[in-house]
């Protein structure tokens, strides 16, 4: 059976009928502003380093890096001491910004089409977009959650979630040596980019 109608059905069942629109519109407005800022920075950047620098404050305003870090680590997060949590979040923020900036080539302009948002759960919005970049089309889904305004909690490019990509890696490190192994591996990646 084609799983798509079933997924759609679940999504539709999760929607509190009619109530979604106001929150959705609010989140979409936030996202469009954020994406606009990112694209402007992308267009202005001369090289990758200057792009990383100009993107950092923008992304920090619009992305909930704490949420991303917690979910990428998983249940093991409870065993992180407060300073380890802060360190992990700080290092992961740098990695995510680098990864995100790495997807831009200076001089290439991206165009983004926003598609209608869905609300998979209360306080959570998913905005599917179509990105046209260097002659190819990509599906990019932004996941947003409400916490002191709408914040991005994941970016899913062609089905590949940024958070899920790190989840297995953090899990492996955590099984090896707990929180300190995760922080150590993060430090290694930030200090010695591969």
């Amino acid at each position: 059976m084609n799983p798509r109608p079933i997924i759609l059905l679940l999504v539709l069942l999760a929607l509190p009928f009619g109530a979604a629109s106001a929150a959705t519109a609010e989140a979409e407005k936030h996202l469009q502003a954020a994406v606009g800022e990112v694209l402007a920075a992308g267009d202005a950047a001369r090289d990758n380093e200057s792009l990383v620098a100009s993107l950092r404050p923008i992304l920090q305003r619009h992305i909930s890096f704490d949420t991303m870090t917690r979910r990428a680590v998983g249940p093991g997060w409870r065993q992180f001491a407060a300073d380890q949590q802060q360190q992990a979040a700080r290092l992961f923020t740098t990695l995510i910004i680098r990864t995100y900036a790495g997807k831009f080539t200076p001089g290439e302009h991206a165009t983004i089409k926003f598609n209608p948002a869905t609300e998979p759960a209360p306080g959570r919005i998913e905005v599917p977009t179509t990105l046209v970049y260097k002659g190819s089309k990509y599906s990019v889904i932004y996941r947003l959650e409400e916490a002191e305004g709408w914040k991005i909690t994941d970016v899913v490019i062609e089905g590949v979630s940024m958070v899920a990509n790190y989840r297995a890696q953090f899990d492996a490190e955590f099984k090896k040596g707990g929180a300190s192994a995760v922080v150590g591996a993060l430090n290694q990646s930030v200090e010695h980019p591969k």
């Binding site: 802060q86 002659g135 916490a147 591969k194």
Partner: protein, 270 residues
């Protein structure tokens, strides 16, 4: 597609109205609570280093194990061999190709090879029982082959109904038939795959006219030119995807595995 969506909507409303809507929403979705996971209160609790149950209900949202990998040691060895090959052999070749051949020519070559893969897409659309898509795919092929001069151009991109026809492949057909990955498998040179998708690749190979040249006229030196060009034209994209997926990783192997499985899940959902 539109009719399917509206059918689902109808079904959803019908279920809702008759009170049978007991289907659980994604189990990882947290129930609405007065203190959402990332509310300021939760953030304070986390900063204090104390775990508050309601604050980290969402910790298990993402799966750490997306696929069975019983052959991990072998896969890792193949992965690192491939990595060396990609970085020290393929990348210089790919860069040279990009430097010598101007972009419009490269795009034309790329388009033509993609266009000629039409049997891979249309046969799999048929095997999936998706005859509407097979029809659209055929329309796309005809427009691109004629107006696009042998598929060098993609005029079908400007026809709204033909612009976005998801490409079918054999692994996708297996997925739609309900067959799982079995186990993750890293193939020499070709990279991330699975037991299911390796069989799928064999199907794609057999359905690709580019391979028919080799199969029918093998032994003639000129036949090497076509598959080689096909490999070469795909290289820049493939290497780009590989680097984007594994750059900034803590463990490139795990990053590539997670990316591959998620990407194939997306393809199977199309």
């Amino acid at each position: 597609m539109k009719s399917r969506t509206s059918f689902s909507l109808f079904l959803a409303v019908a279920l809702f109205a008759t009170g049978c809507a007991t289907a659980p929403v994604k189990p990882s979705t947290p129930a609405p609570s007065p203190a959402p996971a990332n509310s300021p209160k939760a953030a304070v609790a986390v900063a204090d280093g104390k775990s508050v149950k309601s604050a980290d209900d969402d910790l298990d949202e993402y799966d750490a194990d997306l696929v069975a990998d019983p052959l991990e040691p072998l896969n890792r060895a193949t992965f690192w061999l491939n990595h060396g090959l990609y970085m020290f052999v393929f990348k210089p070749i790919s860069k040279t190709y990009e430097a010598i051949i101007p972009k419009p020519v490269r795009t034309g070559i790329h388009n033509a090879f993609e266009n000629v893969k039409f049997p891979v897409r249309v046969v799999n659309d048929g095997l999936q029982g998706n005859f509407k898509r097979a029809g659209l795919e055929t329309g796309r092929f005809l427009v691109n082959t004629t107006a696009g001069v042998g598929g060098i151009g993609r005029p079908a991109d400007h026809i709204p109904t033909l612009a976005d026809v998801p490409a079918g492949d054999t692994g996708q057909t297996f997925a739609k038939w309900g067959i799982g990955h079995g186990a993750y498998l890293v193939l020499p040179i070709l990279g991330p795959s699975s037991l299911r998708d390796t069989v799928g690749l064999a199907g794609d190979y057999a359905l690709n006219p580019v391979s028919w040249v080799t199969i029918w006229y093998g032994g003639y030196a000129w036949t090497l030119a076509i598959p080689s060009t096909n490999t070469l034209r795909a290289m820049p994209d493939q290497l780009g995807i590989y680097e984007a997926a594994t750059k900034n990783a803590l463990d490139r192997y795990l990053a590539a595995r997670a990316s591959y499985i998620q990407y194939r899940r997306k393809v199977a959902s199309k």
